[in-house]
């Protein structure tokens, strides 16, 4: 079947079989290397995309269901100021996610901060629970999200450094 969708602001026409998962189609047809077809059960977070503005596991979405949707992947986000702030915050807090979950964690943090500019510890942990990679300790991750939130709020509300 043919699926017309918008991926990273580009209209795309993808070829898929009826049982194909969205992650496999995006990876195969568009060579999007930030997406991994890994656990296929929605727990590793390595296939995160923004589907019509909402964070979603593309391994759990049948390809045909995405027809007409707008998809944003890490490829489009990595050069944004939000992603760069998060990467800087992760480095500053010595929270160094492994190469396998880094994009998933960044996507999850972008989503969290977009919804809640000052998330509590419980909310941070709940959000990052969606990327079940034990490579980074939660204390550093919480610190990193705190730093990223501060950077974002400073930029957004034009606050000067103390």
């Amino acid at each position: 079947m043919i699926i017309d969708i918008t991926v990273n602001d580009q209209p795309k026409r993808l070829q898929a079989r009826s049982g194909d998962r969205l992650v496999d189609v995006l990876r195969k047809e568009l060579s999007l290397s930030s997406l991994f077809s890994d656990c296929l059960s929605g727990r590793c977070g390595r296939c995160f995309i923004f589907l019509d503005g909402r964070l979603a596991h593309s391994c759990l979405i049948p390809a045909f269901k995405a027809k007409g949707s707008t998809i944003v992947t890490y490829e489009a986000l990595r050069e944004t100021v939000e992603a760069r702030e998060i990467i800087a915050a992760l480095e500053k807090a010595q929270a160094l996610p492994c190469a396998f979950c880094k994009t998933g964690k960044i996507m999850a943090i972008i989503d969290l901060l977009a919804r809640n500019p000052l998330p509590a510890e419980e909310e941070i942990l709940e959000q990052l629970e969606m990327v079940s990679c034990p490579c980074t300790d939660p204390v550093s991750l919480i610190a990193a999200v705190g730093i990223a939130a501060e950077l974002r709020n400073k930029r957004k509300f034009n606050r000067a450094d103390k």
Binding site: D24, E91, Q94, C98, A99, L125, C133, P134, D137, P138
Partner: protein
């Protein structure tokens, strides 16, 4: 390129080569069978089935060592053992074809029993006998005997196992995530009957491997190399997540029987130990696994006499091996559980009994020379008690338990302390496993390039090594780079394990930097310094009489306290807090050490609370339900380093949580339950049964 200038290793799943084919493994449906023949229907154009006969016809070897076959040919030794490969241009079609392939075989009764075993199941046996054990038992006031069991655990690897083999000019290049690239190189050369110099291993991103990628990646690499040779094209094997869960090595299970003789106060007089480790169908590191467990069997305690029999036992299940510490976890858990048992019999607190038995200066175990220095056990113990408020909490939980024995109304909590150590000692007589090397180059642009196969390690490790080089040469971190850890550009090197490798490489980097410093303004650039070291294996490794050396040499010490709470409805134990006091010599970067320890503590807690893998029942259901500890369940973690400013030598610390946490968790569980389950892991239903037992 990263901010620090180092290249991040690629992920195997993202690597592609022109014309690359994919291979899926055809697996045995039986656990034990003979006369295996592969049968498959007509294959689509462009697809090929590779059988053991094809490999032999190509002049390659199916045998890597005495009992390791790349593919089962005449005999199958576990369910899921590779029988052949389906190779083709589409990975999904290869998977479908591999699953529909049939094998004809004569099925036999699998040997699944391992605690009572036959002589044909023994893969390795080791004995120790020192002191007069019989005399000690005949005079002893207390003789106690118990069996302690550890289950099989899986580690969720960052990326499933896999390998790519690609012909690059006149050499075969292997891309795979292995802790030991030299082993991959040697194995591929052996299997293909070519020179080692004709094989180049280009490691891919390793992730957190917990010692589970020591030797198994070599087998997958050999299979990919065979397929590439037969097809004349690059071939990629990448297991699915489910395949990785079901058919790759897990942590071995163990049963340790301890009979102890102690005096009226509870001082150990003798131990009589039978240690059985189930290694599944095979494990090339069985000797190392058993010897590491034997070395740790006395824990931190002095024991004047001991008789020990230790076995690595084979059975018809997936290969089982090291995970998180090579064998030492089993031994520490058993001796600590036994000390708790003794404390209960003697009506003492576990902490009292443990302090009484700690190894003092001037004595030793295993017939080794007397200990010439004071081990900081007491200091660690005191600090840990203070940090965790152990005494008050222990006493109050005991009071609660006495007031409400079934814990029907009250809080079900327990707290325990364990003191342990990790060493970097090896027991293997393989020369390759003990050789570590580093080459450091200061080039004309004053960039420092460090070449070592160990740079497959994590970013935290590389950051530690970089700060060592920075301090030694006063060079800015941005000028320090790691060369790709390819086997053709780096010297042969031993494995990068949790307990070894990291600190040895750190010392070698320091040594090469100092050598460069001496030559810096005397010789023209570039200055190249190579260094190599051989970690001495136990000199009496094969004598079977005693360990012959001081097991505490070059050790890192730590004390761990764990506080747990049991859910009165579900019975599931939840860790509330973990405290660690660590003496690991010089701490190069405190932040990185803390981060690495916190991450290891979480993985070690998974060994206590996670589901144990049942190879007989293992299937998709178990895979889907296998979850590690949830981020929200991660307890408060407090870590303190002691005496890190009193030395210039850094020791490894990554294994410390794996050694001490299962023992401390179990001890806390016994306090909370008021019973001794004598096994780990322990789940809700069993805990509720113990809680409700009269």
């Amino acid at each position: 390129m990263r901010k620090d200038g180092s290249e991040s290793l690629p992920l195997l799943s993202t690597l592609q080569f022109p014309g690359m084919l994919y291979a899926s493994t055809i697996r045995s449906p039986a656990a034990c069978a003979k006369a295996v023949n592969l049968a498959h229907g007509p294959l689509p154009a462009g697809y090929l089935c590779i059988t053991p006969a094809d490999i032999v016809a190509e002049g390659c070897s199916l045998l890597l060592s005495d009992d390791i076959f790349l593919f089962a040919r005449d005999e199958v030794s576990y369910k899921g053992e590779p029988l052949g490969l389906i190779v083709g241009p589409d990975a999904a079609i290869c998977d479908e074809l591999a699953q529909s392939a049939r094998a004809d075989y004569e099925e036999e009764e699998p040997s699944l029993e391992w605690e009572s075993f036959s002589s044909s199941q023994i893969a390795y046996r080791y004995e120790i006998d020192y002191g007069d054990v019989d005399l000690a038992f005949s005079k002893s006031a207390n003789i106690e005997k118990a069996v302690y069991r550890n289950g099989i655990f899986d580690h969720h690897y960052s990326e499933p196992m896999g390998a790519i083999a690609n012909w690059e000019y006149d050499k075969i290049a292997i891309y795979c995530a292995s802790q030991w690239p030299s082993h991959v190189q040697q194995s591929v050369a052996t299997a293909m009957k070519i020179a080692e110099t004709d094989v180049v291993v280009k490691p891919t991103n390793l992730g957190k491997s917990l010692d589970g990628r020591l030797w198994f990646p070599s087998i997958v690499a050999c299979q990919a190399a065979m397929a590439a040779k037969i097809c004349g094209k690059p071939v990629k094997i990448l297991y699915t997540r489910e395949e990785d869960f079901l058919y790759t090595p897990k942590q071995a299970r163990s049963a340790v029987t301890i009979r102890s003789a102690s005096d009226e106060q509870g001082k150990l007089q003798a131990l009589d130990v039978k240690l059985i480790i189930n290694i599944g169908s095979y494990n090339p590191m069985a000797q190392e696994l058993v010897r590491q467990a034997v070395a740790a069997i006395t824990g931190i305690y002095f024991c004047p006499a001991m008789r020990l029999e230790a076995y690595a036992i084979k059975s018809n299940i997936i290969p089982l091996g090291a995970m998180g510490s090579i064998g030492a976890t089993h031994a520490f858990f058993s001796i600590e559980a036994h000390m708790n048992h003794l404390a209960k019999i003697l009506e003492k607190t576990p902490a009292e009994l443990k302090i009484l038995n700690m190894m003092p200066k001037g004595l030793s175990n295993f017939g080794a020379p007397p200990l010439s220095y004071e081990i900081p056990f007491s200091k660690i113990h005191r600090q840990l008690e203070k940090m965790s408020d152990y005494r008050r909490k222990y006493a109050s939980y005991e009071l609660v338990k006495k007031r409400d024995p079934g814990c029907r109304e009250g809080v079900v909590r327990g707290i325990a302390l364990t003191v342990g150590y990790q060493t970097g000692r090896s027991y293997s007589d393989q020369p390759m496993i003990n050789t570590y090397s580093v080459q450091t180059t200061l080039d004309r642009n004053l960039n420092l390039v460090i070449s070592t196969q160990a740079s497959i390690g994590s970013d935290s490790l590389k950051a530690m090594w970089k700060s060592t080089a920075e301090a030694a040469l006063s060079i800015s971190g941005e000028k320090i780079h790691f060369a790709p850890p390819n086997t053709d550009t780096t010297l042969p090197c031993g494995p990068l394990t949790l307990s070894r490798g990291a600190s040895i490489i750190n010392r070698l980097i320091e040594r090469t930097c100092r050598a460069i410093q001496k030559k810096r303004f005397r010789e023209s650039l570039p200055i190249v310094v190579k260094t190599q070291t051989k970690v001495l294996a136990n000199p009496k490794a094969s004598s079977g009489q005693n360990q012959g050396f001081q097991i505490f040499d070059s050790a890192s010490w730590c004390g761990t306290a764990v506080e747990i709470e049991i859910d009165r409805i579900s019975g599931e134990p939840t860790p509330l807090a973990v405290w660690m006091v660590v003496d690991a010599g010089k701490i190069v970067s405190k932040e990185l050490a803390l981060s690495s320890l916190r991450s290891s503590i979480i993985s070690a807690l998974t060994l206590c609370t996670g589901a144990d893998f049942d190879p007989d029942k293992g299937g998709r259901d178990q895979y889907l339900h296998d979850r590690g500890i949830r981020l929200q369940e991660i307890p408060a973690i407090g870590i303190e380093f002691i005496d890190s400013d009193k030395t210039t030598i850094a020791h490894g610390l990554g294994e410390l949580p794996f050694i001490t946490i299962p023992a401390a968790f179990y001890s806390a569980l016994t306090q909370a339950l008021g019973a001794e389950p004598r096994q780990l892991p322990l789940h809700g239903s069993e805990i509720l049964r113990l809680l409700e037992a009269p």
